[in-house]
Symmetry: C2
Subunit: 289 residues, 2 copies
């Protein structure tokens, strides 16, 4: 089964669990809308790729962990889009959750998705409880305090901000978590995978800054020029577009180099380069390669 | 050690974990403000009381589970107070989190507290991973979809609402979870404790409705008359103050009856009656007894 199919199957399973019995219909709809059809599933596919590279035979736990990462990512998008933060009217080419369902259900959908992520990983590890402490703590570190994506978002509320620390929390932390979870789900020590995930997250964030500055709204499915308009920290603002592209290229190299020794190392490195190249807008790709 | 001291110690431990390293200071402050000094700790004390009644010798897991329940309760209060919900200006006699720290940090504090609850229970069960699947799923059921407190809050957004189902989700679910977690932490089948927790939650909700209609703002530390003002479902609105008091008395009896067979059953029943009596405003207590 393709990685994307595994992710979709697991997300559908999680949503069906949340909708079992007699749920409030509005919240059930808002959660489903926030999660599916979904974006590129970069993080959950990373989780699965690491589990495979580590030699995992049975992907059940990794599949659940991958979907949990995506649920947490979706929760953060729903809350980031709220009027008090970005006040984004669209996301992935559709209305944002709060525009379609109202602010109250958007707050609750984010909350319920966070909870669902932990429920889902516990269900996936029901017969491998020996793995669950590590999985829950890794998920928690990636999204919570002191250095997860929630902490990253909170740095936006501080008077002084360090762009790299901010992006390390806001983006790299969940990539690092996805990579670590893949290893942990395979029963392998996750620590060596942390750096690779962080560097990939940094790649992704810089690519996002570049897309925000030079991308096409129709292709991205979300408004561009928001970082500049909102005065948010951005590698393009700090170093210019050309500087950001050079930085991006170096990060891709560093990412491939940081794949730890494992049965599937060479394949993983090749896949990383292919996927990284796709992250920057088409006309700039040759510069970044 | 007194139950309240155990709860406080565990909450301080959880907050210290969230603040380790280099956290964004505003979010760290908002989380601490949301959790401490805290209210009556009814739910975490219930969790510990059930663990003891079930004969638990080592309370480490129960202490962590109890604190996790309180963290989730605090998260729900912070989000319920947001401008898009109750727009409450005060809570426990102090400003609400969003009034003091702003709406953005209030959203993030709720998110981070939800995550922290799961991190905390995983840390508490680090050497009892065999218990963790049950603990995480029980916590998730109490707060998430389809019937936890988040679902309860979401019923407020529906055009038609069943008061009992609404209150079962919004209040009883977390009481049920607290009772079940106490049993699960003691290594005992939690299922028989569910009913007792639900009934206690229903007692608490009716007492809350009564306090809202007839309580003293200075004693409660929060505004009264909000249910009526916001047109929220309430047992007092449905059955009048006298009817609500009769219902409350019956629920207290049902709660004591529903304590499952366990080593500490009689003591638990006595404690329940004492604590339940304290839930209604002083002048009405004789009626409810």
């Amino acid at each position: 089964m393709e990685a994307a199919s595994l992710v979709e199957r697991s997300l559908l399973n999680a949503l069906a669990f949340a909708e079992s019995g007699n749920p409030p219909p509005g919240l059930a709809d808002a959660m489903r809308f926030a999660v599916l059809p979904g974006g590129a599933w970069v993080r959950p596919r990373l989780c699965l790729a690491v589990a495979k590279a580590c030699g995992a035979q049975d992907l059940q736990v990794a599949e659940g962990a991958a979907a949990a990462v995506e649920l947490l990512h979706c929760a953060s998008l729903v809350h980031d889009d709220l009027p008090c933060f970005d006040d984004a009217s669209s996301r992935r080419g559709r209305p944002s959750v709060h525009r379609l369902f109202g602010e109250r259900l958007a707050v609750l959908a984010g909350d319920a998705l966070i909870v669902l992520a932990f429920q889902h990983v516990a269900r996936a590890a029901a017969t491998r409880s020996d793995l669950l402490v590590g999985l829950v703590l890794t998920l928690g570190r990636a999204v919570g305090m002191p250095n997860g994506i929630v902490a990253g978002q909170a740095w936006e509320c501080e008077p002084a901000i360090d762009t790299e620390e901010y992006q390390r929390c806001k983006t790299a932390a969940l990539f690092a978590g996805a990579a670590e979870l893949g290893a942990a789900a395979a029963g392998v020590d996750p620590a060596p995978w942390r750096r690779m995930g962080e560097v990939l997250g940094a790649c992704y964030q810089v690519a996002d800054d570049i897309s925000d500055a030079a991308g096409d709204e129709a292709v991205l499915g979300k408004p561009v020029g928001r970082d500049l308009a909102l005065g948010r920290p951005s590698m393009v603002m700090d170093h210019g577009l050309a500087g950001a592209l050079v930085h991006f290229g170096r990060l891709v190299d560093a990412c491939a180099d940081s794949v730890p020794p494992c049965p599937g190392r060479a394949a993983m490195q090749a896949q990383l380069r292919v996927e990284a190249a796709r992250l920057v807008p088409e006309p700039l790709r040759v510069v970044a390669a």
